[in-house]
């Protein structure tokens, strides 16, 4: 028996939205687990700070400014990953935005297009471009949201885009399965990140939210690390097309 190590030694991971929150937590954990990491987001300078943290852990890292909603930028992001780090084993489609419309009627075309571009269009294109480079044993992880299965009026566009991402996960898993490339999604519940903190009008609202979660609390950003390492590594060699809830028991 060879027990799973949950390690990523010798692998290269590309993480979008990697400069803060869940993306930064995954970037540092993957580096700790032995991977070299490309940190991508809209803000190249913020990515460089995380890349420096990765290098401090003894791994190689490249910071890339990229808007995943633009087809050509997805192509150049993957090309740069392979050119600078030599390969690509793990893609984490983590970048996301969730602007809140006032009502269904108040959804502007601009809000719709931006939300779908970052949450759905980018991950689909990046997966397609990355697939050409991913080896047997490669892994794509899509960061989805509990909103995709439990939508509400204020998340309508975001939820629809993430539901689309769930569908992309299953379709891509089917196409890439015979090549030994696995594609899974993490259905995230409520995490304590900067963007979450900004979205909370008061501590009281946050407390009420936590009380509706069976585990009775909001997750720390680090709590995505275990699931991400499980799905990125060979420990999950027979899991693909799965939508894994990481939500404290909500769904």
């Amino acid at each position: 028996m060879t027990p799973p190590t949950f390690r990523l030694d010798g692998k290269v991971a590309l993480i979008t939205g990697g400069s803060k929150g869940l993306g930064r937590a995954m970037a540092l954990a993957f580096a700790e687990a032995g991977a070299d990491v490309v940190v991508a987001s809209r803000k190249a300078e913020a990515c460089e700070e995380v890349a420096a943290e990765v290098r401090a852990l003894g791994r190689r890292s490249v910071a890339v400014g990229c808007h995943v909603g633009v087809w050509s930028e997805c192509e150049s992001l993957v090309a740069r990953t392979v050119a600078e780090l030599g390969r690509l084993d793990v893609l984490v489609n983590n970048a996301g935005i969730a602007p809140v419309p006032p009502s269904l009627e108040g959804v502007t075309e601009d809000l719709f297009d931006k939300t779908v571009a970052v949450n759905l269009k980018g991950p689909l294109r990046l997966s397609g471009v990355a697939a050409a480079h991913l080896p047997d044993g490669g892994s794509i992880i899509n960061i989805s949201s509990v909103a995709s299965v439990r939508p509400s009026p204020h998340t309508v566009v975001y939820a629809a885009a993430k539901a689309g991402l769930n569908a992309v996960t299953k379709a891509a898993a089917q196409e890439l399965g015979p090549r030994g490339i696995r594609v899974n999604a993490i259905i995230c519940g409520t995490f304590q990140t900067d963007s979450f903190a900004r979205s909370m009008p008061s501590d009281e609202v946050a407390r009420q939210l936590a009380s509706r979660i069976p585990l009775g609390r909001i997750a720390s950003a680090d709590e995505i690390v275990g699931t991400a390492l499980f799905l990125a590594s060979d420990a999950s060699s027979y899991m693909t097309g799965a939508l894994l809830s990481l939500d404290g028991g909500v769904s």
Binding site: P4, G177, D222, S233, A235, Y238, M239, L244, G248
Partner: protein, 260 residues
């Protein structure tokens, strides 16, 4: 956080009960949990087989393993099992409800009361009762992880395997119920639903249908049947702090076999 990453999947000091642990997936999970540092109670009906596997696990991992015979279909035998494990190890952190039976295929028209009762006794009543007995022991220390092993067939329903697949579907529902009831005690409850593995049960199915394994592998997105050791990652992930915010969730380990 960085110091934690190497410790996330570590089970040192923890005690796990694994039922149906002498062969197939249960055997792999028992040895896998021991490989991650846990002490193991190896449970199945046959004491000799339990003792033998416990000795092998100790020899291969260096962890303490105790073989305890118990029939999951016997309601009154289960408190004895829990008392035995508690007396030996002083604590219980992990329960893997893996024991299950899937006898000869039987259509609904031909199903007898004895057949249905037996299937539900071992596949539902036993695991639920055992979890109910272990939960207070876990709660005393404010932490625990229960893993119920179901099947991907629980979603699709299997023609001529209805007693098995419906019992396993009930176990998934109980998983969600237990998760909600015990979250405040610090106990997480999750399920693993395996697809086609090269297991003892799969080899049993091949006796009735020689092509079963080939067809099942072809029905997965990965176009293959898995080896038993490929279940270990999910078990260690769910047993450990790596899944600290995960509860009430079924993990289908089936190579992407569609839930139908």
């Amino acid at each position: 956080m960085n110091a934690q990453v190497s410790q996330l999947f570590d089970l040192s000091e923890r005690v796990a009960i694994v039922t149906g642990a002498t062969k197939g997936l249960g055997r792999s999970m028992a040895e896998g949990l021991a490989g991650a540092g846990a002490s193991i109670a190896v449970v199945s009906r046959d004491q000799d087989a339990c003792s033998k596997v416990a000795d092998e696990i100790t020899a291969r991992t260096g962890q303490v393993a105790l073989g305890v015979a118990c029939h999951m279909g016997e309601w009154d035998a289960l408190p004895v099992l829990v008392d035995t494990v508690r007396a030996r190890f002083g604590r219980i952190d992990i329960l893997v409800n893996n024991a299950g039976i899937n006898p000869a295929p039987t259509s609904v028209i031909d199903m007898s009361q004895e057949y249905l009762d037996k299937l539900f006794a071992v596949n539902v009543k036993g695991p639920v009762r055992l979890a109910g007995l272990v939960a207070p022991v876990m709660a005393a220390r404010g932490q625990g992880s229960v893993i119920n092993v179901s099947t991907v067939g629980a979603y699709a329903g299997g023609a001529n395997f209805g007693a098995y697949t419906s019992a396993k579907a009930a176990l998934i529902n109980f998983t969600k119920v237990m998760a909600k009831e015990w979250a405040s005690m610090g106990i997480r409850v999750n399920a693993i639903s395996p697809g086609p593995f090269n297991s003892t049960m799969m080899q049993g199915a091949a006796k009735h249908d020689a092509e079963f394994s080939t067809r099942a592998g072809a029905a997965t997105m990965q176009h293959r049947v898995a080896e038993c050791d490929e279940i270990i990652g999910a078990a260690v992930y769910l047993a450990s702090d790596a899944s600290s915010f995960v509860t009430g969730e079924d993990h289908v380990v089936a190579g992407g076999m569609l839930r139908a």
